[in-house]
Symmetry: C2
Subunit: 581 residues, 2 copies
C-alpha cells in the first residue's frame, strides 16, 4: 500500500526571536525524523513569528530572517521540511521554503493575502501567482499558505486537478469563538470537492491581541477528519496517510465531467524531490504516538477560558515579566481575571491588591479574601481614604460650590491606578486590568483608573460571558473557586453610596446583544430595534459606544475572542459625527 | 481663445457629518456658479470626510453617504460638479461623481489604492480599471483620485494620450514635512510629461492623527504652477485655463514618436456633457478673485506650526470641546503646546494648570507665570506635596526598606495626571498632553502621568524641532512669548533633586538623528553607527525605543508631521524579541 508519513509541528514561535524559533524548528525536525516522517511542516512565518507587523519594513529584519532560514536548512537531512519564512526577491513574500537534504528545493509564495480584520498583509507583501507541486517520494504534494485555502478555486484546487494527492496548508490563524468548527467545516469541503488529503497546520501561542489556537487537522479525501492536534498547546502530529485511497476515491467518484480549469504556463511546476522510499522504515518510531482522533474539540466555555489563559501566559512570559498584579474589588470581573492569571502563571506569580474606600462594602471585602483563599494567592491591602481626602483638599478651592459628580468617582479610580502602577514599578510586576467588553464598549470605565495596566485579559469578553466562564470554572473545579456570592450579587463600581451598574447602563442581558449587533455585526439602528429593544435604550447605548472611542484608543491590548475585538481589529475614527439614527 | 473656468473647492469636511458636509458642498457649488465656473470640484470622499476607517464597513453608513450625494446632486445646476463619495456597486469604491444639471453623468472609481503608512484602502475598497474622460463644453477632461496620479503610467497618462486637455485629481493627502514641495515636483513632471493641465485639489483640516494641508495647485502643460490654494485653510480657487496653449504645446513639442500605450477596450470612454459655452459669461464674477500665484508656500517652520494649530483646533472643535487645559511645568514642551493652543483656540479657551512639588525650581515657577502673562491665559495652581505624601504614607509598609527609584517619580507624575483629569471631568475641558517625539520614542514619559490626556499636540515633534518652533514663534511675534530662559535652561523633569534629562538620555542633538534613522528610515544598527554615534549609545537608544512600545500603544493620538509618526502610521508588535544588533 502506498503511504506517506507526515509530521505537523504545531509550534509556538515568538515574534522576532530568530534564535529561539530556529532552535525550536530544528528540535522538531529531529523529533519528526526520529518518528520516521518523510515530511515535517511548520506554521506560516514560523521563522519570524506572526504577525511581525512593521518589523517587516526593516531590511535588516528580512536579512536576519533569511539567515535564520539558512540555519534551519543546514539541519535538514533525509526529510522534507516545509518552513514558513519571509522570502525576498524583487519584493517580499509570505513564503514557504521546501527543504531537503540541506538544499532549498523551492519556495512557494502566498497567493491570497488577507487585508481585513486584524490582517494587513497588503501593507507588506506582494502576492504571487505560481502554484507548483512537488513529488516527494512517490507522492505529489501541493503547498499552500493560510488564506490560499479559503478560496474554492485557489491553488489547492489547481494542485489537486493537476494530480496532487496531498495539499499542505500552513497557517497563523487566530482564535475566535467558533473558529475551530468553521475551519473544520470549510477544510472538509475543500478535501471532499478536490478528492485530496488536506493537512492543515496552525501555529499556537499568544501574540499581543491574538491567540493562535493550534487545532491543526488532517482531513482525508472524503472530507473526514483523521487527525487533530491539541488546542492551545504545542503538539507534533504524526500520521500515516493512505494515498491509494485518494486514487480509489477519484476512480470511484461519480463519473462527472472532469472540470477544466485553465492553468497558466507557470501555474503548475513539477519538481521531483528524491526521498528514499525505505529510509524511514529503518528508524524506530519515537515516543510520539501516531496521531488519531484522540483529541476531541474542547467544549465552548473551556475553549474560551483556555484561550484567555494562553494569551495571558504568553504575553507575560514572552515579554519577560515574572509576575502580575490584579486589583481585586470583590466583583466578578477581577475574580475571573485572578483565576485566569493563576491558571496561566501559577499562584506564586499572582498578587492581588485590595484598595478599599469608604464605599467598599463588607461583602466585597469578604469576597476578596474568600477568593484569595480559594486561589491561594497573596493579597496586599492599601486603603485609599486618606489619599482621596488629600485630593479633595487640594481641589477644594477650585471645585467649591460645584456639585459632586463622576469627577470624584474618577479620582478614586485613578488613585487606585496610581497605587497599582507603583507596585508595578517597584516590583516589576505587570498589571492585569479587569474590565470586560461590555464596560469598555460603553465607556463605563475610568481612563488611567481601572483601565490602567499592561494587559486587559477580558477586554473582549462580554459581561454575560464573564458570568458563564465563572460558572464553568467553578463547575470544572467542583468547588466555588469564585465565591458563589460574587456570581449572585448585583454589579457595582462602589465609587459612591449604593451605586449599581444599572444606574447608568441597561441590564447586561439587554446590553450585550445590542453591543454585538452594533460592534460585531455592523447592524443599523433599525435592525437593532428589530431585536426587540427600546428606542431610547438603543440610542443611548450607541451614543455611549461612539463617544468612548477615545478611551478605547488608550486602552491596553487584550485578547481577541469575538468576531470583532477592539484594537487592531476595529479601526474607528475618534473624530466622528456619524450617528446613524 | 478657448478657455475654461475651473473652481477647486478646498473644503474642510468632518468625518461622518453628512449634513454638515452636504451643506458645505452646496454652498461652494453656489459660490463657484456665481464666480462663473464651468466646473467645480471637491476633494476625495468629501461626502464622508477622510478617512472614515471602519465606518465604511457599516452598510447603513454607505447608504447614508449615497443619500447625501443625492442631496448634492439635486443642487447642481448649469455647472459640472465633481464630488468625492463612496460608490456601491458589486462592492464599494472610492469614487468621484460627475454631476451636471441634477443628473449623475458618470462615476469614476479610484484605480490605485494606497495601503501603506496611515492608509488602509485595500481593507475597504475594490480598485477599478476603467478610466473614462468627459467632454465638458469644448474641453476633454479626465478625472482621477489621489494615488492614481502618483503612478507615471496611471490613468492621467492614458487620458492625456487619448486627448484630455485637463486632468483633475482630487485628494485627501495628509501633511508631513516637505510633502508640499514633493507634491508640486511630482505634479509638475506629470503635467510636463503628458502635456496636460493638472488640477490637484486637496482637502483641508484635522482628523485625529492627520492634518490635511490644502495647498491645492494647478499646473499648466509646461509644468509651471499657475495657481495655488491656501495652506491649512479652506479656499475656493477659481482659474481660467488656456486650453489652446495645451494644443500649441503638443504641436510644438519636439517630434518624438508618439508613445503607444495599449488601452483596453473599456480604458477610455467618451461621454459628452453639454455645457452651454456662453452661460458663464452672463454671470458676474463674485467677490472671489481669480486665483493666481498670490499664495506662496509657507516657510518650513511656519508650515509645521500651522499644521499643529489646525490639527489641534479641529480635534477640539470637531469633537465638541469648548476649551482645553495644559499642565505647565515651566519647561519648553508645555510652553510650546500652550502657545499652539492659544493660536488654535483663542486665549479664553485655554487654561494652564501649575502643579508644583518640592522639586519644582523657583525658575520654573517664574517661567510658568511669565508664559501666562505673555499668552494672556488663566493659570490655576494646585500643589501636589500633600497628595504625594499621602501616597508614600499609604505605601510605607509595603515599600519599607526598599530604595527610592522611579516609582516615587512616577507617583508624582500620576498625581498630576489625576488632578488634570479631575479638571477635565469637572469642567469638560480636553487635556492636551505636552510630550514630544523624542521622549515618547525612548519612553521618557510616565504612562497615566504626563501622558494622560486626550490629544498629544507635539507627539511627532522631535525635541530639537521643539526648540526651533519656539524660536520661530518668538521671532514671528517680535517678542519672547515663550520666555527666553525656557529656551536656554537645561531640560529637566523635576521629579527628584537636580534631575536632568541627560541623566538618562543622550543630549537631544545626538538622540534625535538616531531616532529618525531607526524609526522613520528603518536603518539597521550598523547604518546608524555610521552616522558617527557611539556603539553603546545606539544600543541603549534602540533598546529604549523597543521596550517602550507598550507605552505608546496607550498614548493619546497626536498630529503626524514626520515621515513616520507613532499611531496608525507605525504598527509595531509589543511582544517582540527582535534586537537587530
Amino acid at each position: 500500500m502506498k503511504t506517506l508519513r507526515l509530521a505537523l509541528a504545531q509550534i509556538n514561535p515568538t515574534v522576532g526571536d530568530f534564535e529561539g524559533n530556529v532552535s525550536k524548528i530544528i528540535y522538531y525536525i529531529e523529533e519528526a525524523s526520529k518518528a520516521g516522517a518523510q515530511i515535517v511542516t511548520f506554521p506560516e512565518l514560523a521563522i519570524t513569528g506572526y504577525p511581525p507587523e512593521d518589523l517587516l519594513l526593516k531590511p535588516q529584519f528580512i536579512e536576519d530572517n533569511l539567515d535564520a532560514l539558512n540555519k534551519v536548512q543546514g539541519n535538514v537531512g533525509d526529510i522534507t521540511a516545509i518552513v514558513g519564512f519571509v522570502d525576498r526577491k524583487d519584493d517580499i513574500y509570505n513564503a514557504a521554503a521546501i527543504i531537503y537534504n540541506k538544499t532549498l528545493i523551492d519556495t512557494y509564495h502566498k497567493m491570497y493575502l488577507p487585508n481585513y480584520g486584524v490582517f494587513d498583509e497588503y501593507r507588506y507583501f506582494q502576492a504571487d501567482a505560481r502554484c507548483p507541486m512537488y513529488k516527494i517520494g512517490d507522492t505529489w504534494v501541493g503547498v499552500t499558505i493560510c488564506e490560499d485555502i479559503w478560496y474554492p478555486e485557489g491553488p489547492a484546487r489547481l494542485q489537486a486537478l493537476a494530480g496532487a494527492e496531498l495539499v499542505i496548508n500552513i497557517n497563523a490563524s487566530p482564535y475566535r469563538i467558533g473558529r475551530g468548527k468553521s475551519r473544520e467545516d470549510m477544510l472538509s469541503v475543500r478535501a471532499f470537492d478536490s478528492m485530496v488529503i488536506v493537512a492543515y497546520l496552525n501555529t499556537v501561542g499568544g501574540q499581543d491581541e491574538l491567540v493562535f489556537d493550534g487545532h491543526s487537522i488532517v482531513i482525508d479525501q472524503s472530507g473526514t477528519v483523521i487527525a487533530r492536534g491539541k488546542q492551545f498547546e504545542e503538539d507534533l502530529i504524526v500520521i500515516d496517510l493512505n494515498l491509494e485511497a485518494v486514487m480509489m476515491r477519484r476512480l470511484h467518484a461519480p463519473r462527472r465531467r472532469k472540470e477544466v480549469i485553465k492553468l497558466g504556463k507557470e501555474a503548475v511546476e513539477k519538481i521531483s524531490i528524491p526521498v528514499e522510499k525505505t529510509s524511514y522504515e529503518k528508524r524506530r518510531v519515537s515516543r510520539l504516538r501516531l496521531s488519531s482522533l484522540e483529541h476531541t474539540v474542547l467544549e465552548p466555555k473551556e475553549e474560551i477560558y483556555r484561550s484567555l489563559v494562553l494569551g495571558t501566559s504568553d504575553y507575560v512570559f514572552k515579554n519577560g515579566f515574572k509576575g502580575v498584579m490584579v486589583s481585586l474589588s470583590g466583583g466578578i470581573d477581577s475574580s475571573l481575571v485572578a483565576s485566569i492569571a493563576v491558571d496561566a502563571l501559577g499562584k506564586e506569580n499572582v498578587t492581588g491588591l485590595f484598595m478599599p474606600s469608604p464605599y467598599t462594602s463588607k461583602e466585597s471585602r469578604e469576597d476578596v479574601y474568600a477568593l484569595r483563599d480559594n486561589l491561594g494567592i497573596k493579597v496586599v491591602e492599601v486603603p485609599i481614604d486618606n489619599i482621596f481626602k488629600s485630593y479633595l483638599e487640594a481641589l477644594k478651592q477650585e471645585f467649591q460650590n460645584l456639585p459632586e459628580d463622576t469627577t470624584e468617582e474618577n479620582i478614586q479610580a485613578r488613585t487606585r491606578g496610581n497605587i497599582l502602577m507603583a507596585f508595578s514599578n517597584k516590583f516589576g510586576w505587570l498589571v492585569l486590568t479587569t474590565g470586560n467588553k461590555s464596560e469598555l464598549s460603553v465607556g463605563y470605565a475610568t481612563l488611567y483608573g481601572d483601565m490602567a495596566g499592561g494587559f486587559a485579559v477580558i477586554k473582549d469578553v462580554p459581561k454575560t460571558m464573564v458570568y458563564e466562564l465563572c460558572k464553568w470554572k467553578n463547575n470544572k473545579e467542583g468547588r466555588a473557586v469564585i465565591p458563589e456570592r460574587v456570581l449572585r450579587k448585583e454589579p457595582s463600581a462602589e465609587l459612591r453610596p449604593d451605586q449599581k451598574d444599572t444606574d447608568t447602563l441597561p441590564p447586561y442581558h439587554v446590553l450585550d446583544p445590542i453591543l454585538k449587533a452594533y460592534i460585531e455585526d455592523d447592524k443599523s439602528f433599525d435592525e437593532i430595534l428589530s431585536l426587540g429593544c427600546e428606542v431610547e435604550c438603543v440610542q443611548n447605548v450607541i451614543r455611549m459606544i461612539d463617544k468612548s472611542e477615545y478611551k478605547r484608543r488608550q486602552a491596553p491590548p487584550g485578547i481577541k475572542i469575538t468576531q470583532r475585538a477592539f484594537g487592531r481589529d476595529r479601526r474607528f475614527p475618534i473624530t466622528n459625527r456619524y450617528r446613524g439614527h
